[in-house]
Amino acid sequence: MVAPARLSRRTLLAASGGAALALTAAGCGGGSGGNGFAQASGDKVPDEYAKRTRVVVWHAYSGNPGTALAELAKRFNESQSDVYVEAQFQGSYDETAQKVTAAVQARKIPDLVTFSEVNWHNFYLNDLLEPLDGYFGSGLKRSAYNQKLLSEGVLKDKLWWLPLARSTPIFYYNKTLFHKAGLPDRGPASWDEWYGWAKQIKGLKVKGKQVKMEAYQKIDGDWQFQGSVWQWGGAYSNGLNVAIDQDPAVAAGEWQRKLIFQDKLAYMADSPSVDFQNQLIATLVTSTGGLQSMTEAAKQGKWEVGTAFVPKKEQQVVPTGGGGFGMLAYSPKDRKQAAWKFVEFCGKPANSAYWTLTTGYLPVIDAAVDEPDLKKRLADDPNFSTAVKQLDIVRKEDEVRLMVPNANILIYTGLQKIWTNNTPAKQVFADVAGQLKKATDKVRKNIEKHV
């Protein structure tokens, strides 16, 4: 029996907030009536911008991405005279989503929010997002976006979520260790080739410790594993029909269990990235967003990072992740139109290129790759261009993981049993499937109405 995810204050807040959202939606019947909700509080608007329409953007970016978004807001404010954008950092994607929940309850909302690929569905299912189709025009064309990424924000033929900070899993490898093991300087074409290479890694040591081939992420490892399930020809779900207990997913789980307990070439880690940076593992499948940190750590450790497409088994395919813009429907019309101007600004090729260069996220505007600085970076740094090329094989995540609350937690706690307890995948996934089916049935009616 899979233990229910440990209740934490964030989980409970999210759960109670979710219920509150449903009540809010019911209570706000009448669509476009009224003047919309008040605006979330912030700092005093600078005097030179006092006459402009104020737009509040809540985002989940700290560090370099946070700096980059603040810079884009600053440039936007300086580039025109009608709108003032205030970008406010609200914590992680989950924390930001919880704050939006509370803000909707209080009827004092931001105008634009960055949601993760999972979180925006909760707001969509509660009728809180604005459809964006009518806003495209001469300023920003729909066709400007990478269509695969854009289509992930489409439900019921309408666009609700625009890509901004997108990433995919990618295959990282330690070129230096590969060289020592006599392996070629490239990614493996398939997992079977990778397995053959893994045997050649045996015997290699770094600082007296046996190098392993791979590590699995303890928390949120279900994101990468979804890619594994697809590569093996399966899925977490087909539509809302749970499929994780079917053979391809089970085979993917058994593959990893064998690597850990029989071949002793892999293990579960709190932070596989740090282990990779310490050369404890020779390869790793994790987010493209981590490339900068891998490169920096490798430079300091005096070894070299390589990247490649994630290998294939039956199929070669990877999921996407990351964040994008959603607009709140209950913002007044003038604020929504003003918010769209900032979206347009971020969608200019030069600004999209700036964002990609500063953060490492994928270029979501096709023309961005032709901007001089980004073009040069892609040419000079093959690692940086791997993720862009891999966009050809990305796929939208399975519906159950995206729309069923806590589905990701149920799956990764199940994976932990495989990776640490040596529990057979068939048994674990049968339990997880049962849990997922129950969770899905609770929200099935609302999802089917909205999808």
Partner: protein
Amino acid sequence: MTTSTVDSPARRPSRGGRVVRYVLLVVLACVVLGPIYWLVTSALKPTADIYTYPPTWLPNPLHLRWANFADAWHAAPFGRFFLNSLIVTAIGTAGEMLCATLCAYAFAFLRFPFKKVLFGILLGAMMVPGHVTLLPNYLTISDLGWINTYQGLIFPGLGSVFATFLLRQHMLTLPGEVLDAAKVDGAGHLRTMFRVVLPLSRPMLITAGVITLVAKWNDFIWPLIVTNSTNMRTVPIGLLFLKTQEGYNNWGAIMAATVLVIVPVLVVFFFAQRQIVAGLTQGATKG
């Protein structure tokens, strides 16, 4: 006067037993101080040294990286964060202690109907998890227009069951003779409270005050929920600005910022520790 029994040599605690106790204390101290040691030494290491395996326990004296502190200070507006935390903690602690003191005095010394029932309700409130009241508090503060303000940060924390209970229990232990003497001299409640009860409660007041202060300084969830803009953030949330979800984390700067956050609390504890020990001891023996 009871005649004391002469200790026979066999009943003196053995030297071996004392050694064992010291060893256990040293082990416990290592367990408690280990993470703090790692924090402080990491704050002085280049990031590459923090990541390395096997761990480097001693920072290289020739390469202490004090720049981590400057990096941290400039990566986000920490001066502003510290000011906000100082304001919220100082006013919040003073306000909470005022409410707790008045409430404790009432429960200890006043007679009024349903006193026991009300005290039971007060204790019951202690059982309610903080996050259950998070959303109602947010809605209330929002209706008052206090989101992203100092008053929004401070007011929900003013009612404290813990400090009230602690002080009330202590006040019940005060000698009745002293209070009776004050009453005979014609002292009313205000004078009794300020001239008799509070001076006698000084260690416990300081203990409760420090506990309250530390809780407010470290508070994370409520400041995260109730503030929106960077200018109103407190230091625990400020640490979030240094850590990214996917990219490169400058752990040296993160550790340095964390050291900056805990130093004020350690300083306060250092100056108040004699009173705290006295307060806890007193409470323990007379409770």
